[in-house]
Symmetry: D2
Subunit: 481 residues, 4 copies
């Protein structure tokens, strides 16, 4: 009894960016979103604020496609702005789901955008609809929007805190308020990343200006901003003309940072929670080589995320690193649907085998994870067709046995290969001569945590361990039904 398009709630694997107190705030936001493009390629949006009026532009496509025109940028005046890159996993992406969301409140307008997933969004939404709230999008961000609207508190900050205390989940949120503050908020366990940066003096337009919030440090680098620190778990930062104020609405808690950001999601040149992603990946590769060494002729990464780990593996093992698989970077969002005959040709639009490197060789393939196993199988087949005599698969994460409910797009448990297969069954399914995953201990050693049990308190690794640090309210509701 509802509109078809709203029936499936898309995941919220995204990038966020905010800037305060600079000229060309919207243009800087577009650049920051461009650097965060790997976190979401389906849609992008920016809301700017000129102190009197909010302005917005959103569209489907890459940042460079949505903001392709100086005339578009001219419609986004103001010295503060927030922006969002969207990745949607299901069906069509609808423009009404594109963030940031803007709302006219009794106290003025406000814009919010977030990265992450609320685990009680469905439950809250149901209650809000019952109360008479009308939802326009299928995004979790709109739960924040309505909770702010109905809060009995007076100030924007109090209302946002009131809202934040009611939601559960993993999120990093940025917001722009009608009294011209840029707000950053990270969930109590700090699952998703959010960093604070600042432009050098000469690029600010006032003494207290130049502040940046971003999902990753690579968005600071592109505009020459300095990394100040990570926003802390459960911290709210309020940036206005009096400077930056830190609020801790939830009291102190330990952190559970998403370990998959290191393994796959973040850009290799980003530094998350003080740790360079590239170095972390290389060290995971080293650990893998130590734990699961095998005689071979070449170490070949599955591009692009496997490259640093393969370099690490090669360095540790002494086996040469080679680009045995070439990635076609021109694969867009659409392409002709192949006919059956063409499908039978085993066409690979995205990867191709570099025969010169593979033919007659024993190959170690390094990849970041095995989810359904179908992509891995295809790559292995391609490598064998190019003449590899042996194929050994090495995975830079422990087996993915559980779905993520905190913002990474994973299929349900029954579709995860590792959830239903033994290691040997997986090896066979993928068609390799040997298969090994880095151990949980090895992973955390690589991340600098000698004691993996302690790490269990510092990271969220629910997808490997099944230990979900945040209550899965909606999921439990579903089980009961």
């Amino acid at each position: 009894m509802s509109m078809i398009e709203s029936s499936s709630r898309p995941y919220e694997e995204c990038g966020v960016f905010g800037v305060w107190g600079v000229p060309d705030a919207a243009a800087m936001t577009a650049l920051g979103l461009h650097a965060l493009q790997h976190r979401g390629q389906e849609a992008a949006g920016i809301v700017s604020y000129d102190g009197e009026t909010f302005h917005q532009h959103k569209g489907l496509g890459l940042v460079g496609e949505v903001f392709d025109d100086s005339r578009v940028m001219a419609t986004l005046p103001g010295h503060s702005a927030i922006g969002h890159n969207r990745y949607a996993t299901t069906g069509g992406t609808h423009i009404r789901n594109v963030q940031p969301l803007y709302a006219d409140y009794a106290f003025g307008g406000m814009a919010v955008a977030h990265n992450g997933n609320l685990t009680n969004a469905g439950t809250l939404r149901k209650a809000l609809v019952q109360r008479g709230c009308i939802f326009q999008s299928a995004t979790d961000s709109e739960v924040f929007v309505h909770l702010i609207a109905i809060s009995l508190y007076g100030t924007v900050v109090e209302r946002l805190i009131d809202a934040a205390k009611q939601v559960k989940g993993a999120y990093s949120l940025v917001g722009l308020t009608p009294d011209n503050a840029l707000i950053g908020l990270r969930d109590p366990l700090g699952v998703r990343p959010l960093v604070l940066g600042r432009l050098p003096d000469y690029d600010r337009d006032q003494k207290n200006g130049g502040w940046i919030l971003a999902s990753e440090t690579c968005a600071l680098d592109i505009i020459g901003a300095e990394y100040v620190r990570d926003v802390e778990p459960g911290e709210m930062v309020v940036i206005n003309e009096e400077g930056l104020r830190s609020i801790r609405p939830f009291g102190t808690k330990s952190q559970n940072f998403c370990v998959f950001e290191y393994i796959y999601f973040a850009r290799p040149d980003s530094i998350l929670e003080g740790e360079p992603v590239y170095e972390a990946r290389k060290r995971i590769g080293c650990e893998l080589a130590r734990e699961s060494g095998v005689e071979a002729d070449v170490v070949v990464p599955v591009p692009d995320s496997g490259v640093p780990s393969a370099i690490g593996y090669a360095a540790e093992s002494g086996i040469p690193f080679e680009l045995g698989i070439i990635r076609n970077h021109y694969v867009g969002r659409t392409f002709i649907e192949p006919t059956d005959q063409i499908r039978n040709l085993g066409v690979k639009m995205k990867h191709s085998a570099n025969r010169a490197v593979l033919q007659g060789k024993r190959v170690i393939l390094v990849d970041d994870s095995i989810v359904r196993g179908t992509t891995s199988r295809k790559i292995v087949d391609m490598v064998r067709a190019a003449g590899a005599t042996e194929v050994h698969m090495r995975i830079t994460s422990p087996p993915t046995k559980h779905p993520c409910f905190y913002g990474i797009d994973t299929p349900e448990e029954s579709k995860l290969l590792a959830a239903t297969h033994t290691l040997e069954q997986m090896r066979e399914a993928i068609g390799v001569d040997s298969l090994a995953f880095v151990s949980r201990d090895g992973l955390y050693r690589a991340l600098g945590d000698v004691d993996a049990r302690e790490a269990g308190n510092r990271y969220c690794d629910a997808c490997f361990s099944g230990k979900y640090p945040i209550e899965l309210v909606d999921q439990e509701g579903q089980l009961v039904q």
Copy 2:
């Protein structure tokens, strides 16, 4: 402190259509909207309901442009549907303002669309925002949407009645409910039109099916439906599988039907409140000829609305009817902005003078109204430039001295020529040899009401008389401020 695009509330001069219990409900709605295209050319939308799911498609442009594709129609399955043509007078039209509006309620989904203007929309909106409601559009229809959401009543019908009792204004509304009813509702004074029709037996898909609601009878004609009756002032009709039920939430009141629908807005082949529009216009022309006869050589209508009146004027006066002004029907929504030089050429994109008819002639021009007077002046100049020796302007309505707040787009009072000029001053401003308006008595005689004072109880003629039959709540608020 609000988004620029929502700052100005567009008028709601529109056409609505609804159908229940037929195959291809959406296609029929598209046809109905096409017949109502003159009521709004800027956007169109349809929501269909298949008993389980609502489906919608909206777009900017003509009906034939928005619904130009059988694939689009295939996305709108179901045996019931409502649709809306939009006319917006200010700034850019935003897709989020295009009706019908759809909302997910606790009791299920619902779609509504209306023609007309609420006079307390701003006041209600302010109160609803204060309460925590988030508005997404700038339309009056969304006031209904939120009032339904927060109503404490149980059924959809009760909630809609609850909402209707809170709003003031002129509106004809159609709605689709989750228990598969088509609802029609006309404001207590029946200012805006709404007619009820039915398809012949062989075109229905069930015994109780085939019902149509539409702004005008021309939308019944295009699909071969029979005119049943006008929905009555203050009447709500609920059409479902048990047939048609009539509810009168407001008790009995007299009617104040918009007289301007006869003069200008409705299509000449429509029959409103039992009266054919074409015949009404012809009779107004006759009255004008009787009241303000003048010696002349030709009677020339200002196309298109003036044509039937000019025929009536010519018949009554015995002066030949001629097409002295040709209308260019290819004028779209955009054209090059002329340079100053070209502007000086006095270019007319929409009308051209038919010199063969005008040269050396004493011309009676028949038009429906004078609003600002600028268009009239241009037409008169054009007719004189084509060689007319005398130009006499005859207007088929009394002088427009007051703005409409009930759904017709008129400028504020200070910009109405008749509000600030005497008849002689108007004549001079427009540049004619004589100028006459039909009298209020003459107008109502033409409409079959011998006693114009009684007519004041049957029609709304606030734009001529200043007697507003519905309280102007928002306006009064503005005066107080």
Copy 3:
């Protein structure tokens, strides 16, 4: 063995416009094309010349859609320009067929556009291809383009005359040359119209400037230009900074002006060969009333072309003129394809019956022609369904028995109702109580030629008489094959 899109040669029913020696030449051309929009709605193009470089913009759609942007106009600088409206009758319209055509010659660039049809285009094209010419479009204009290219003469004017002497057919051509001349050329019999106009002093940019060439005078009116005279049959006018020069490459011949321009094609406010179209149509209506009077209650035009004739018929017969059929002017180029069920409803997208005028009445319908008869049948059915007791059809042209090869889109002879049916059979096929066509004598009386036989020398009426004044070279070739 050729590209699908070039296999069918579209008809060339079009409008042309040219201007020399004015600022904003392209903008004026856009306005002129707008006034000529009725001559072709599928595509439009303009080439301007700034004395050094030619600039062009073409597109599919209405003039106002193709030239919808001041930025587009800014790409068309220069004080001279030519433009073209295209009407294509077959298949898809391809942008490469949109005129004007531009070519780089050894002597410089040149642009041409024409209205009409060459009767030896196929024959010439075949010979040119044999010689090694590569055709890019399916237009007759490109035959001119290649003939100019291979001419052995030295000057542009000589080359164009050389080309013109080789082609046969009906055409009115405008061209822009690299030595900055605007050229107008009409075929030896002057079948298609071409008028010469001039802007008043203050709108020219030089003493010799301000010249206009256009298919009809309505394109002069829109920009305030004065009608100077018609370009004469077989006359070439060359307009450059020395003024206007008239050349007569073909010697003197009599004229055969297309009589169908008066009956149907031209705009009613145009004056062709000195005769106002509106007056001509009215007089044809009078002749019809005299020749084929019938007792009836109302005279109803089939809009829009039938209106002036119906006014004439009504005036002559004393039977009241009424708008019994309303035309929906919002019918665009696309609309949903109706399902079978909806088709059965007898939906009319373009016309609707005005029941108030028709019910219980004996109706005289006035239309311009009967081609296949299908449209007439639908209109008659609609009028009867609205309650007409008798329907009498009166046609303002003699029966259309032969196809046009000179630029009017008509089907082949076997599909023309009048070619295969007697008058009584036609009456029955169309479903009317009586049917009458104006006689050929009556038609020419209305056009001011008392002796129709003489008229046969002044007009082309091949579609009625079968007397084709220009040799049908390609057609004869086909018969032989």
Copy 4:
């Protein structure tokens, strides 16, 4: 005196593909073009032939954007097809320049597409225009089109040979003829690549079918075709239902294959003239390490072309290979034009520094060439800003001192850094601690030719040596003027 858009002749750095005797020929062509996307990203086109009719579709953008729809593919039936990827270096790309070009000849239709540049195109074009040929595009391919049209020979093959004997330049051409042959033709010196492949039996639709022509072997791999051999310099292959026929119109000559294909242009997984590109690049890296070793901490490639060479350099030198520069693969063809302030931030849209790898390190940067030097300078600055203590640039080609006239886009000589600067001046301009290019001897050793002087007979290295193996006819003409 010509259209602005045709004034500059774009370079023809492109990819070509042809297929004969397979179902879904157009879909296979789209896949082949996708694999060749790196050779041209601005436009793509396919012409298919079904034995009776040619069909075409062209568009601006990536292959996946132009052929994004199964409905588009449905318009391209037939068992043979050719396709083209276009790279244009100047101004706007116009659809009329997009290849393949199709022409209707007296002997039937024909389509051609080529990769490369003709050195006498301008001279031939001028003569052809003088003769009366009308050019529609600015491409060299159209010179072939017209030479074929005016040839006095009888068969298509003879006409194409006649044309080929008149042109000079570097080109690899594919064509489709009206008697259903696929033709491949490589210039006499074989400057640009063209390979022959064949689909396995089960993917052909007839005994003689399944032939493929492509610029590189990577286009064979994507559809599972086997590499047969390179088309030889000066060889014409004619593929029809009788099989493959080889013709050598030019007699025997030595080869001058473009060495820059190995260094930069080809995809690393392609095999050109029997030599894997990846291996060639790696060996060049080894040579560089041997020739110009330097103490350092990391070897960092400038992505993407520098990666294999950097792997070779690292392997030879024992210095670790690291991804110190990350490429943003989402950079499209458009992005907001930055304001001055943002430009001052030193924004890099395409590359970012991986600080974790660079900080405090002595860095060897490996890149393929230095053209103007501006990009190199920016990258060096970025690497230093990320904390590198020393930067040593190693280039995998000899200095680029001369422009290419054979199909690679290079600026004129005065803008080539190496043409106007000594090595030391270049080092300083780029801002590195040391700079070295591979020697010409080292380059050819890496390519397996111990004697570089002999190599001068096997490769074209005019951009390094200034020895142009094909006469520069148009250039010399320009010098004379």
